[in-house]
């Protein structure tokens, strides 16, 4: 029995190790008015990297991210974040497909996020300005956020996530309605977050984007998890017929 004893770990609590998965979804199910929108999703995400959530429209990508981020509660199943014992919960941020712009200036959108993270007000403005500069938005600092263009709003949403210094970032189709230049800016931002050590979970229905960014790929179809594979393997030879059809560009529902 002695080999099962781990000193300092209360019984019943998972043992933390740096190689343990960061996020575990266990039998995650979401039902809305008798329709099963997500069907017993089991998924483990490693501590580092960029995960691309692929799948056709309506597959449940947004829903899965909102569940994992804690915006909605699952009908059944669990979302388990593996954090070091006695540590505060992971800092998470999410950029929505249609970013929500507060009815304030671009600058005030960032200082609001800093206030939400209880950054002392003296430091907020400088931090926000620095971030606007980094995202090429400094000339728009005093502009009302809601009158910015779609690409500018998406960059501002990324900047707002940036000031939070999140450990995990969810991005819901951040480039779906953008021109190529804005799309490139978003992908550069994703790399920058990654370089800072942020764990990234991003949905997309753009295969080329997935090729450029992904470390691993999760394919959802009709509310079911079809495949979770390292990106290289996924694009060389997906295991499932659904994935093959998806790569060939055939719509699957």
């Amino acid at each position: 029995m002695t080999d099962l004893y781990h000193p300092g770990v209360p019984s019943g609590q998972p043992i933390w190790s740096p190689s343990a998965p960061l996020l575990k979804l266990k039998g995650l199910t979401y039902v809305h008015q008798d329709t099963v929108l997500l069907h017993e999703i089991d998924l483990q995400l490693a501590r580092h990297g960029i995960t691309l959530l692929l799948g056709p429209n309506g597959a449940g990508k947004s829903l899965l991210m909102r569940l994992a981020h804690g915006l909605i509660a699952p009908t059944s199943g669990d979302v388990i974040w593996h954090t070091q014992p006695d540590m505060p919960p992971l800092l998470q941020a999410m950029v929505f497909q249609h970013p929500v712009m507060l009815r304030r200036t671009a600058l005030a959108n960032l200082t609001y996020a800093l206030a939400a993270r209880r950054v002392p007000w003296r430091r907020r403005r400088a931090l926000a300005m620095e971030t606007l500069e980094r995202f090429g938005l400094i000339s728009l600092a005093q502009r009302q956020a809601r009158v910015l263009s779609g690409g500018e709003q998406q960059r501002l949403a990324l900047a707002r996530a940036w000031v939070l210094k999140p450990e995990v970032l969810f991005l819901d189709e951040p480039t779906s309605a953008l021109d190529p230049a804005s799309m490139r800016a978003v992908e550069e931002a994703v790399h920058a977050f990654h370089a800072e050590g942020t764990r990234i979970v991003m949905s997309s229905h753009d295969l080329n984007q997935a090729r450029r960014l992904a470390d691993d790929v999760v394919l959802l179809c009709g509310g079911r998890l079809v495949e979770h594979t390292p990106a290289e393997r996924f694009f060389q030879g997906p295991r499932t017929p659904e994935a093959r059809a998806f790569i060939r560009g055939e719509l699957i529902w």
């Binding site: 998470q92 929505f96 929500v100 009815r103 939400a116």
Partner: protein, 234 residues
């Protein structure tokens, strides 16, 4: 109509010469209505925001009541406060009846439902829009409230102006609880009613012009705020 022409000229000269009687009435009117709007806003803004943000049993009833009270006839509001403050009433011992304070209370009763109900509409719509983002920032309803009120500030300013318009233009409530006592509780609307019936058209018309100007100013301000907000916030 020579007599009315004279009345109009006399009214203008009352206004231009800053006639002390007219000035006193206008000042009291503004004091009463502004106080009522201030109290109404201090209670109505957080109340309306809370009704938009929290779901609790009886919330539907509260909202329905609030909406019904938006159309409360001023004389009925006056009567309710009269019964409350009259010597035999539950608050009779305070001796507030026929004082400006009673008028402020009655007008607050008229203004509060408007401010609370319209605030609920505006904050509710904004919350619907912001909800997931704020949840993502881990900001709960309590912490969200000041920001929501601030972001809805232009809409809320027009709400408050609407409340002020209702307060300053009503006759029934201030007449019943104030009693229209000369120099004590006589405000523009009650004075206009009395002076007209007495045939003192000059003072009535002078006060009417001031009231008209005030209402025009309030509505103009509300319009400008609305336009500016539309242009700036998109």
């Amino acid at each position: 109509m020579p007599e009315n022409d004279n009345a109009f000229q006399a009214a203008l000269s009352l206004i231009l010469s800053l006639d002390p009687v007219l000035l006193g009435i206008v000042t009291l009117s503004l004091q009463v209505s502004l106080s009522a709007v201030l109290v109404g806003a201090l209670i109505g803004l957080p109340l309306g925001a809370a009704l938009a943000l929290w779901h609790f049993p009886g919330r539907g009833l509260a909202v329905t009541l609030l909406n019904a009270f938006m159309g409360l006839p001023p004389v009925v509001a006056g009567l309710m406060i009269y019964l409350l403050l009259s010597r035999a009433g539950p608050l009779g011992s305070l001796g507030l009846l026929f004082t400006p304070t009673a008028m402020i209370i009655a007008q607050t009763l008229l203004v509060l439902p408007i401010i609370a109900a319209l605030t609920r509409d505006h904050i509710g719509a904004l919350w619907e829009e912001y909800r997931e983002q704020l949840h993502s920032l881990r900001i709960g309803r309590v912490r969200a409230m000041p920001g929501l009120l601030w972001d809805a500030r232009f809409a809320l300013m027009t709400v408050i102006l609407a409340g002020f318009g209702r307060a300053s233009a009503e006759v029934g409530a201030v007449l019943i609880v104030g009693g229209n006592i000369d120099g004590v509780t006589r405000v523009m609307t009650t004075a206009i009613a009395l002076e007209t019936s007495k045939g003192n058209l000059a003072l009535a018309l002078g006060l009417g012009l001031v009231l008209l100007g005030l209402v025009a100013l309030v509505n103009g301000t509300a319009y400008v705020i609305g336009e500016r907000a539309r242009r700036r916030l998109g």
